[in-house]
Symmetry: C2
Subunit: 268 residues, 2 copies
């Protein structure tokens, strides 16, 4: 199963001023595209840290997706750091330059070095049009690996991903289908579920089961049981998830006749 | 300035099912305690990955804080992985065992291997009482580094941090004070702010300035300008932030007399 790493760039994430919703959004997208996201790494606006994170990610994962650091201010250095990590020059891309300057021109703004900076991309890479803002995304390939660079503003990140990157990834991607299901279980402490989960995990290595405690382990035990995994096609993935779910329900009721199973958490 | 890494453990974060609010909460706490959070790393429920992440973090940071993987289910392996990373055995801690079993005993539950698993900690480490759940946190020290291990359930993570870990960190911590301020700026594209931010960043290396675009760069430009940093005492930190803020306001008004500055974003 092809692997992906997500690199989130920005001091605001490391001082806890911003919650990293971008990484969760991308993780979900990549999972559904058939990638196994193995790591999310948050690094500061520091060139050496960004270059090191890109290099490590490219050595470990098939796909690396970054967010942040593509704007016009002095701490926006992701395009230059990416070029360093890839071992190539950053060059002014004519297409990206036209996109960037046209957006400013429409409002009567001139070209400045800060604006042009956003049109630099690693040599050999391809700019991705930003329909929701100015800074283009970047698509680079090297040694069979893909590096996808997106802005940090969520609506711009999402627009470039969905309009530009997702079709490319779908065409080039692993062709796996992800499926999932979940239910809530009340009245059984998580510790007592453990042997059942252990058996369920043995049914098929493509399917994973995880319980998430939502109540109080010894007071009012409540868990969300989440079953998920990917297979070669969607029917197979759904059938595997259904099979594991059936096993779990049967075993829980066999061992804990007082257990309450519901599709959503219920009070009482 | 002492550095910290945050290690978030859990497949649910890597499939985008859960947004990593724990990391943001901890990042803010650690920043205010005077630590510079240099990296957040999210890893799956996989022993080799957790051990590798702990080892790398302990080699790079003064303080490592993890969340997740302390419960009673088969994928909860953080206490054992931490022992491996530290190169010591995981041992049944008598204090932790008493805490765990007492919580189950109060509700009429017996001791089982899954319940006792939560009382294992790396040899030489210290358990931290969990007032909001069962699984204790862990405080370990090695070679001058601190490893703080917390559960993934937010209310349990926050309870152990605030009641047990924060007093220890405050007593042992760097003794720096963090300060911050921010304002909103409408009517100036972020690209045109860039030279002013560059100058502001030179005023004092302890203070950082970052602009966060909230509007549309060429349509209706709106930025939040955030000024922050740490100094030896709180007065000094606040004064440095105020000085940089004053410089920014003066320079923005000098160069852009039409700029609108507000404490909060305003429509129109």
């Amino acid at each position: 199963m092809p692997s992906a790493w997500i690199i989130s760039i920005g001091n605001e994430l490391l001082i806890g001023r911003v919650v990293n919703t971008n990484a969760a959004w991308l993780a979900r997208k990549l999972t559904y595209l058939g990638y196994q996201v193995r790591r999310i790494v948050v690094v500061p606006d520091d060139e050496a840290e960004i270059v090191a994170a890109f290099r490590e990610a490219l050595s470990k994962a098939d796909l690396v997706v970054s967010t942040g650091g593509l704007g016009p201010t002095p701490d926006d250095i992701t395009n230059l750091a990416a070029a360093k990590a890839l071992g190539v020059d950053a060059v002014l891309d004519e297409t990206a330059k036209e996109w960037v300057l046209e957006k400013y021109r429409q409002r009567g703004y001139q070209a400045t070095p800060e604006r042009l900076k956003m049109a630099y991309i690693p040599r050999g890479a391809k700019p991705l049009y930003n329909s929701a803002g100015v800074a283009p995304g970047i698509w680079a390939e090297q040694g069979g690996k893909i590096l996808l660079i997106l802005p940090g503003v969520p609506k711009e990140m999402e627009a470039i991903f969905e309009e530009q990157a997702e079709p490319l990834l779908r065409a080039r991607g692993p062709g796996l289908c992800f499926a999932e299901d979940s239910f809530y279980l009340a009245g059984v402490p998580e510790a007592d579920l453990s042997p059942i989960l252990r058996e369920a995990l043995k049914i098929d290595e493509r399917i994973y089961v995880k319980s998430h405690p939502k109540g109080h382990e010894t007071g009012a035990p409540l868990e969300e049981i989440h079953i998920y995994g990917s297979a070669g096609n969607c029917d197979e993935a759904r059938n595997l998830v259904a099979k594991v779910r059936q096993f779990l329900v049967d075993e829980i009721w066999r061992r804990f006749p007082q257990a309450k199973l519901t599709p959503q958490p219920q009070s009482g």
